[in-house]
Amino acid sequence: MKSKIMIFAVILCLSPFFDIFAEESEFKGEITLTGVFRDINGDEAKFKEYNDLRNGAYGRLRLNYDTEKYFMDFKADDIAYDTQNYRLGAGMWGKFRANIYYNEFPHNFTLGSRSFYQGIGGNYLTYPGAAPNLNVSTWDEFDYSIERKNYGGGLKLEMLKPFYFNVSASREEREGLYPIGVSLLSPGGPALEQLPMPIDYTTTNIKLEGGYAKKPFFFSLSYFYSQFQNDNNMLFFRNPSAAPGVTTPDIFTLPPDNHYFKLAFKGAMKLPMNSKFSTNLAFSRAKSEADLINYYINNAGAVTLLTLSDPKFRGKIDTQNYNFVLNSNPISFLDGKAFYKHYKTSNKSDEIITTDLTATPPTVVNELFDYKKDAVGAELGFRLPAKLYFNAFYHYIITKRDREDIPENRDNLYSVELRWNGLDFMVPKVGYERLHRRAKFEGSIDPNDIEFWVRRFDAAAKIKDTYKASLDISPLENLNFSVVYKHKKTDYENTILGLIDEKSDLINIDGDFAIGKFVKLFGYFGYERINSNQVQRQFTTAADPRTAPTATNFNWDAKQKEKEYDYGTGAEIYVIPKKLTLVLQHDYVRSNGFVDYTVFRALNPGETQDNIDIPNWDDYRLQSYMIKVVYNVVKGLSLTVGYAYERFKYNDAQYEGYLYTIGPFPTGSSAALTGAYSKPSYSTNLVFLGATYKF
């Protein structure tokens, strides 16, 4: 009797779900298994920068269950590889939807790097003996690589319409090694060494949002919380430049733990005359906490003790953001928008007084940087006769920041755009935009101080003009073609030292063409040229760039020129329609960089204005070819076989002739490097064979 009651109770509990199976349902899915055979020459890290392509079998699964009331969707990719991805979503139509996911991917920087240090991966690096062993062949190998693992889930409630409620949580774990470098004694001083920095980060995010969406209103209130945790807040390392007998490790500080929350209200209200008022009011706070170090290894390799006003630094930055936007479409041929935005950060972090009796001045206090932006603007869109559309906007932005050189900017941003829809098969568009930035300079008033002449490009006064033109043509239903041209020119009008001007030209052509039901062709071409010009001064005593040049006080300039072009072509050929498809693809990217230096002083023996130039400045070529055949054996079953070739060739002056050790380390301008980013070139052949079954 008891068991019958229990069975009855279970049936009663499950009864609400019986109709899942009772109603008409559709269960479908897809399973793919692909074998990959790979042969690689050269650097594996660049080829596998974000992937995990190796010899093996890759699985992919899709499952979908759908009824009138319920749904379920499951996706799995790259099962058991470092790029695996799983997502399960389910719910009741119109009531709720929930999802959980797991996703990971690597970011490979350099594999097979080397270092004389022991303890790599941890936060204490040391080496045996009195001095590092500089025989690179004896150094331990390790990989600069970070693996990101992200998992989480969410729930969306729709059953209370017009009210809604969403909640989601996620966690991301990052593990690996990242290259950093340190000068061993005085910054900018002798000896450089590269260190593998341990990455053990965990970021946890939670978001709650509730709202109401029913004409004429929309409003939502959301709360976002994020916590960043670093398992290693410091990297201790034995400094090879430390004086004999100094056993105190040197320290490189790592990102501190932080917490962040954001509270936001968003709202919108429909108004008469086809208008809408929208607003966004948000407040956020970021906090961090770090234990401070009270010593450093000084230029003699000894320990200098510091006195700190507080052994702990507590960082706190509050951010306020307000947006008010009014959109209006009062008459059919006019669209209007007016807005105001206020964004302000308030840095309320600790100001720590550090006293170093050996330094000049002996006390230093960290400066707290914050800034605010106020932007106001209007946008208008007109429908003119002959199917012409005219859009224009004007934005006025004031930026105020706690910075000694340029504490204030006032930007005037204008834009006009004309589009013509007069022909059904063609849409030409032209546009112009001008940013006129004025900068309030409050730096040095002494021409003998270099700061009098320097204008930092991020805040410097400038005029930036952008010209755009594009043409979309679709003369036939199966032919699409587009051309885009963009020219940008920036003049830093008051800059004497710093970035003087930048110029770029870009042209893109993109198209696709389907020939009946047999062939689909596609292709693109892109060309970009970027030029910049900066003027600098090297000096020991005379900072004024107007003074007559000497061997140690002179001006110089650098003109950087980048030329890049890309193209890609491809075809899908339906050899036997719906049965046998051939896919061909070729992509090519090439970039050439050049630095044209000019020194305004007497040339040194053997030096010319040309042989100091750098002809290989991030030059690279990336080319790939792919051929693939897809054969549909029977309904639901298809086989794929293909071959791909990819080649990346990198040539850069800063890595050419790479050396792990330079000079009599750790003295003078010597270095002990680990090989980070040193040889990214590779070529690879890939054969893949796969089967997909759809049900």
């Binding site: 470098g181 500080t253 501190p256 950060t345 270099i450 930092r456 600098q536 970039s591 960089g593």
Partner: protein, 304 residues
């Protein structure tokens, strides 16, 4: 006076009754039902009945209203005239005004979180309509015509080319998608980004850079885009330019910041310098995004 009001109300009542009756008669005669569409548009009908728009349990779906005619408008005249693309019906073709097409979708979807700020969207002002990206007949995720990023690359061809550069986010691998950062339906952020400011957006994935740090680098705090470009770069780390020149364009001082570093200071040059070869300035200034290191010059100079 009271009599006049009564007459006025009576006339108004009669007038409105006639108007309502006429409009309902007119409405009924214009709508012919989805079954009628099926005869000529079999494939579209099939995809419609399998779509979310045909769900009975979701209030307000086309199923619960006028079926195909909920979106395409009444079909009587279209049928009477013997059909044809766009003949007396909204066919969502290229010739149809973008606003007219979108307004059809917005009749239902405007009352949602996703579309609440469509009026502010750059896509809207550029006359992009819902059907440029979605189709109820696609049977794909979110009824998209193609998946992100291919869908976005269809129009944003310059971004497509940038994503091919040697330094990039994992866009090709599908691990970063356009809609991770941008809201195509409109947002308060510039370039339709899903944040109030650029740095707020970047810190979502790069939380270690959020600080707050004791020793800050002001241009970093103000805008990541001062040094980085998000869609792809020819330079490592998505930098807009290459160190040391990138750094020197702001830091021109005596000693090494203002010193010219040329080919001579590379590994193969006559005087290799650790301010030029490999990562140049970043060889030593590794905490460029901020530091909690010990005082000047180590922490402040972001070398510890």
């Amino acid at each position: 006076m009271g009599k006049r009001i009564s007459i006025f109300i009576s006339v108004l009542f009669v007038f409105l009754s006639v108007l309502i009756t006429q409009s309902s008669v007119k409405g009924d005669s214009q709508y012919i039902g989805s079954e009628a569409c099926k005869d000529c548009h079999g494939d579209y009908y099939k995809s419609f009945i399998k779509s979310i728009h045909n769900k009975r349990v979701i209030p307000g779906t086309p199923f619960n209203r006028d079926g195909c005619e909920s979106c395409h408008g009444p079909g009587a005249q279209h049928a009477e005239k013997g059909g044809g693309r766009g003949v007396a019906i909204l066919a969502f073709g290229r010739k149809v005004d973008a606003k007219a097409k979108s307004s059809m979708c917005l009749k239902c979807h405007e009352e949602s979180k996703q579309m609440a700020f469509w009026d502010m969207s750059k896509h809207r002002s550029a006359s992009i309509s819902c059907d440029d990206c979605h189709t109820v007949h696609s049977m794909k995720e979110k009824n998209l015509k193609a998946m992100d990023p291919e869908l976005c690359f269809g129009c944003h061809t310059t971004i497509k080319i940038r994503a091919n550069k040697q330094s990039r986010h994992p866009i090709k691998e599908g691990k970063t998608r356009c809609h991770d950062c941008h809201d195509p339906h409109g947002s308060f952020g510039e370039k339709m980004v899903k944040a109030d400011g650029v740095n707020d957006l970047c810190y979502k994935c790069h939380a270690e850079k959020r600080g707050p740090f004791m020793w800050q680098h002001p241009p970093v705090e103000e805008n990541c885009l001062n040094c980085h470009t998000p869609h792809g770069s020819n330079h490592l780390k998505l930098l807009t330019s290459k160190p040391p020149l990138l750094c020197q364009s702001c830091h021109d001082e005596s000693r090494h910041p203002g010193t010219i570093y040329t080919r001579s200071q590379t590994f193969q040059g006559s005087a290799p310098s650790n301010r030029m070869y490999a990562r140049a300035c970043l060889n030593c200034h590794s905490n460029i995004h901020g530091s909690v290191g010990p005082a000047f010059p180590r922490g402040k100079a972001q070398v510890r």
